[in-house]
Symmetry: C2
Subunit: 274 residues, 2 copies
């Protein structure tokens, strides 16, 4: 297959490098900043670069790797250029808004939202890795695409070396991502905003390091993701605050029974599920 990667930042370029490393597909790349796509070509991360109007019509699969708000406009702008019967997908971290908007359109191609679940605290082409998805889940959230096209996409993910593929609804994806990813970033940031954070060296060990890691964050990208997934994320923040208040009350009242019960439940989840 000919696969086009639009946007060669951290995720797009890591997808390109993974395709080149683990599959025999022909990889085309496009990036708004021309220097980046030239570098990708020179380094062998892609087989071909060029103008979008040349590349798009040739692609059997197009993977759009832009900020949340740019996905739908891009697909609509190029709706008449995508090859008939081809698959168009994306790698954005939220799915409901994108998939439920695009399913209303009558396209001659198949749009299938996807989320290759990996990231780094750093961004951009220069931080992309052919190993970024080695232990990752590939989640896709088809709405009106036929099973054959969904299978093509998940088979490709397996061929690329993703550890796991998951097919679910956009809504379930977004609810789960609010919990596993978004609230984790919100709480890591909220944590390091304590006035004591700058004094931590000498007083910190593994728990500070791990809990605060994802506070190294691209605020522009994550603001968009948070707002685009407002309802599920606010539910998670409210749940988290409610649990923190239970700890606070238990500590204030020296209520060992409540504290031990809360920690026993948390420990059980980590022991049984991880």
């Amino acid at each position: 297959m000919k696969i086009l990667i639009c946007g060669l930042g951290l995720i797009g370029a890591s997808l390109a490098k993974t395709l080149k490393k683990n599959t025999a597909h022909y990889v085309m790349g496009w990036n708004r900043t021309e220097a980046v796509m030239k570098k990708a070509l020179a380094e062998g991360a892609v087989d071909e670069i060029g103008e979008l109007s040349d590349l798009i019509p040739k692609a059997d699969i197009t993977i759009v790797n832009f900020y949340t708000e740019a996905i739908v406009p891009f697909v609509l702008e190029h709706r008449n250029e995508f090859k008939e019967g081809s698959i168009v997908t994306d790698s954005c971290g939220i799915k409901t808004k994108i998939c439920r908007t695009l399913e209303k359109e009558d396209f001659p191609f198949y749009f299938i939202g996807a989320h290759p679940m990996a990231g780094r605290e750093v961004s951009g082409y220069d931080n992309s890795l052919a190993t970024l998805f080695d232990k990752a889940s590939f989640i896709c959230t088809p709405t009106n695409a036929p099973k054959a096209q969904v299978d093509t996409l998940t088979e490709l993910a397996k061929e690329m070396g993703f550890a796991r593929t998951v097919v679910t609804t956009p809504e379930h994806h977004d609810e789960m991502i609010a919990f596993t990813s978004q609230i984790a970033h919100v709480l890591a940031c909220s944590y390091v905003l304590s006035p004591l954070a700058p004094q931590h060296p000498g007083f910190s060990a593994g728990s500070y390091r791990d809990v605060s890691r994802v506070a190294r964050i691209n605020g522009e990208m994550w603001s968009e993701l948070f707002v685009a997934n407002k309802e599920p994320l606010i539910r998670e923040i409210d749940d988290l605050v409610s649990n923190l208040e239970k700890f606070r009350q238990g500590i204030e009242a020296e209520d060992f029974e409540t504290l031990e019960s809360l920690m026993a439940q948390a420990n059980k989840i980590k022991e049984e599920i991880g």
Copy 2:
């Protein structure tokens, strides 16, 4: 020197193994469960085991590794047995309560509170490691001990291979530990108590893994530590909840400026301080 380790759980036995590995000191060990100290002797983690009444009077340094509430009673109970001029220290994660109680006593030995800052999600002798403190800080919080004895203790920590030694007040220690360690555990537990946690496999990556790691926790030990450090920890919980509410309001109002500013501050702390 002859060094006595009282309590051969995760921390005590790791201290014993580190002393044996990196120093030439003679290491004595005692544990309430006799089988554990016999195992430690058989495995070479200590040079000698026996009755407390035999071991205590021989020790130049005694390190008490018990739960928070057991430290002061143990030191008081054996106050007439410790060698004159010797150093008695502990490894408990909170310091004010212990150090400010014991400084009121007139001892013929020197009590210097200490906190070797490392841990694991698992506990007990069988999980102890000679490498547990390799990248760790050794914090000590002397109140009325002379400089010579404080130096003896910090020199020993350096000899053992601690990456860093810090001398501070019990109060500053406790405030910093409320931030770097205790609140990190409270928030990891509060996080995994979300009703969505059991469904996370397939939807989680590095952020879930890291932020939730320390929710694998010994609730009995941590309840004691939390309550013993009530005021600083409640301040940290309140700060955290207040920061979470700022995110919540920003998301609800789609206020990108506030969200980006919060994340820019958090990112700056991680980039500049770590």
